[in-house]
Symmetry: C2
């Protein structure tokens, strides 16, 4: 509880009388500190199994190799590092990739413009970030529709208002009403001005990664960005074993700028990786070893995260499936492999294949969130709002999932074993047949003892029925509306905001709209 | 996979031409073997924490003691065993209870009338049984209403048809249209004749426990029941620290008949136990030590299970809450305590406070099911169908949860590390940029590789929309109807069924209806 409260109760601030008036009427924004686990990780693989997978991954790198596509300078770098390069195929001698990975830091401090929101990614930490990438949004009123910049801003606002969310994320949805070559500018501007939590940079083109660095320098100052990590960006590997030039171009920009990247295989098991868990883990490890090694060739010491996005597949329909036991096995196992590399680990999320924020969505999401906590994930992208296999960002599910993230915070606290935790005085006071509701120990502890939902329904049946018998999605819809109505922008230096706006305007006017 | 299939594909059998015709048209009933875990347990408490809790529990027994209410023979037994008895308070010298518990077996074989359905409770096993006790039922058509014997029979049928459910359970709902003093007879008759899975006996009065033993002797034969365990029954402790004469009376009957009891504190944290996790675990352990010790005083070697039913409470409304992190801590910790006693462990279930089979229900249920698997539970009562804090048995949620129980089966298999699991040939065959859908390894493994839902929706958005955009509850409603329409009674010796019916009729006519 203490960790959640240390950073809690902050609200937006500004200068002068208007700010004081605003403060008096301000909605209280609570923000929990990132999770620091006080519970063990769940270790599904034996020592022997881990060694087999590690040996096999090195065999994959040595015998089969990886492809760096349309990227002559990467091939040249690999040659100089000691790999065997034939065409675009890079074969890496046994042990070389792991050796190169050693310069990557085990923990990353990602700074937020509000220092209280700065996060640590690695070790026992767990940083929660929202859904990333959906082209569609869904809410109760509008149904399923293409996402717009207005939707994007609303998700950033919800993220800012969500107590258990530590990170503003990146492409919380794709704003399809803005040109592809310009939308990153509007997205970054929204994260930077509508929230004060840390954010992700653009990866869809190296020039957009450069824009992300440039805007961050306006927000944080040139020197601060040179010396600190202020972005964590998502670099996907085209599994199996392929590194495309766009993603690698973005990685190169960020590594050179000392900004963090998640190097993440994107795997639908049975399609982009073998249909077995051990086989998939082998390929994931080979891919991450190659990707992280490349980042360290570009800049030794560049901050990187071991990523694993893994789903299974419904072999009847070919549809990806979520919250499945096979995905859990892979997530647990990849966490062990990441820890043995000494790298921060990204996996899990509010995954589901359901089209609605219904029971299927919640089963699959809870399966995935629980395994994320226990598998030692340090950075959980997609931790709220994911729907329909990632095609849809759901407003209702965003706040539903965000509430469940509080469960993870309390789970991670572990069991308090001090005298107050042991509660022997309470047991003595109450005795056989009594009850604890009124006893001194309960009175002293009840406010902090239990996790409290901000949206689930605990009312008696009759009260709930009188209130219209709402299901979870209906309660969530009301909560979305209230949060957006209550939203107040966090204070920002007006000169900084103007400079950001000017940069966005200048970059937009420098090129015609492109939609690919 | 192998374990699930060993027992799969069975169907009802009978003799003669009618049976052969029935067999040709029979609906295929799949039944998975009980889970044998090939994954570690999650151990949240350190060795030091466990020792503190064990020491404190002995202190509770020694200094505070437990109450055995309106049960002079129990007090006499405790006196003879060496306890300090004052009034109804039994103070147990440090170490005595644990010493008495040593005669309890670590594993229980509970026989079913179909030997393929016999279960092992203890060690690495997990046996799944349905919801127990709700006075109400709910389905989409009828809404929430008092449960009847017809509802009861339908739940038994659904349990029989559920692949991942190993146990028919007990009071799957309270048949409120039958007199309280007679309904146990109808309930047992339904379990014995409509299913061939193992079942639970009545505990609401010692005479009803005796009826349960008598009916079991008709079904299995006198000698078989004397020598084997054919019932597992639920004996609740009135927490804090109180053992009432009704439940203890049932325990005495079952222990003397060598039938298994779950000895289970029933705890809403903050009301019946301290508001802290360590304090609750201390009280739970003290209660189970006293209850199990008592069972062993009654009959050394009587089969018993360490039970822990634990929820937290919403301190604003007083409502019990489910799927919470505090309940998870207690469930994990109690599993460790049970293993240190060498006893089978009962906890977890499809718990939720929601009034509908909606997202809240599924989040809370999935949280609880996952922790149940990882906390080493051997017998999971309430594993499907629970709704509204246990007030309601939901038809839709029964089949929704029962489907998720398949996830637990696959999770428990662990990771296959043989050559086929390693899949190096597949990685070599496919190589960078290829795909695995058509490769030989995928073709050879895809049928068994992934858990498959029997009811969640993986269709593409357009196909799902054309089908009326059903949510999970709607899909579940259709599945309930199909299962009940497809249901065929498992074969039973007509003479046995007649004898059971005659016993029920005789017992019913021997007493007037009572409704308390």
């Amino acid at each position: 509880m203490a960790e959640a409260q240390a950073a809690a109760g902050r609200r937006s601030r500004g200068g002068g009388g208007a700010a004081r008036r605003a403060e008096r009427t301000a909605v209280r924004i609570e923000a929990a500190k990132y999770i620091e686990r006080n519970v063990p990780n769940f270790e599904i693989l034996t020592q022997e199994a881990l060694e087999i997978i590690e040996y096999n991954a090195e065999t994959v790198l040595e015998e089969i190799g990886v492809a760096f596509v349309e990227n002559p300078s990467a091939l040249q770098r690999w040659r100089e590092a000691g790999a065997d390069v034939t065409g675009e195929r890079v074969r890496i001698p046994r042990g070389l990739a792991r050796k190169l990975c050693e310069t990557a830091p085990s923990t990353i401090i990602q700074h937020a413009r509000n220092p209280d929101r700065t996060v640590e990614i690695g070790g026992k930490s767990l940083v929660l970030a929202p859904v990333y990438g959906p082209p569609f949004v869904r809410d109760a009123e509008g149904g399923r529709r293409y996402a717009t910049m207005e939707d994007f801003r609303n998700f950033v606002k919800l993220g800012y208002m969500s107590k258990w969310l530590h990170h503003s994320g990146g492409t919380v949805c794709e704003p399809t009403d803005v040109a592809v070559n310009k939308r990153h500018l509007d997205m970054l501007f929204a994260h930077m001005t509508l929230s004060d939590k840390p954010y992700m940079g653009s990866v869809t083109d190296p020039s957009r990664a450069a824009d992300s660095v440039a805007m961050s320098k306006i927000l944080f100052g040139d020197e601060f960005v040179d010396q600190n990590t202020v972005m964590t960006s998502l670099v996907n590997i085209n599994s199996p074993l392929t590194f495309d030039n766009v993603m690698m171009g973005a990685l190169e920009v960020y590594a050179q700028a000392n900004q963090a990247c998640i190097i993440s295989p994107f795997i639908v098991g049975g399609a982009m990786a073998p249909v077995t868990v051990a086989g998939t883990l082998t390929q994931v490890l080979a891919e991450v070893l190659a990707g992280v090694a490349y980042s360290q060739i570009v800049r030794p010491g560049a901050p990187v995260i071991f990523g694993a996005f893994v789903t299974s597949i419904d072999m009847n329909s070919g549809a990806p499936t979520f919250g499945t036991p096979e995905a859990a096995h892979i997530t647990y196992g990849a966490g062990q492999l990441a820890r043995r590399m000494g790298l921060p680990y990204r996996s899990a999320g509010s995954f589901t294949g359901s089209k609605l924020p219904d029971a299927q969505a919640a089963y699959e999401t809870a399966n995935s969130l629980n395994m994320g906590l226990l598998s030692g994930v340090n950075f959980m992208l997609h931790s709220c709002g994911w729907l329909e296999g990632g095609l849809v960002a759901s407003f209702e599910k965003f706040v539903m999932d965000a509430d469940q993230l509080g469960v993870l915070h309390h789970l991670a606290q572990g069991v308090f074993m001090d005298e107050n935790g042991q509660a022997m005085d309470a047991i003595r006071e109450v005795g056989p047949g009594g009850h604890y509701l009124g006893c001194a120990h309960t009175q002293a502890n009840f406010k902090e003892a239990f996790w409290r939902t901000q949206m689930l329904d605990y009312r008696p049946f009759e009260a709930w029925q009188e209130a219209g018998a709402p299901d979870t999605a209906a309660l969530a819809n009301a909560r979305v509306k209230k949060l957006l109505a209550d939203y107040q922008k966090p204070a920002i230096d007006p000169a900084v905001e103007e400079a950001l706006a000017a940069f966005v305007a200048e970059r937009k006017s420098s090129m015609p709209d492109a939609f690919s």
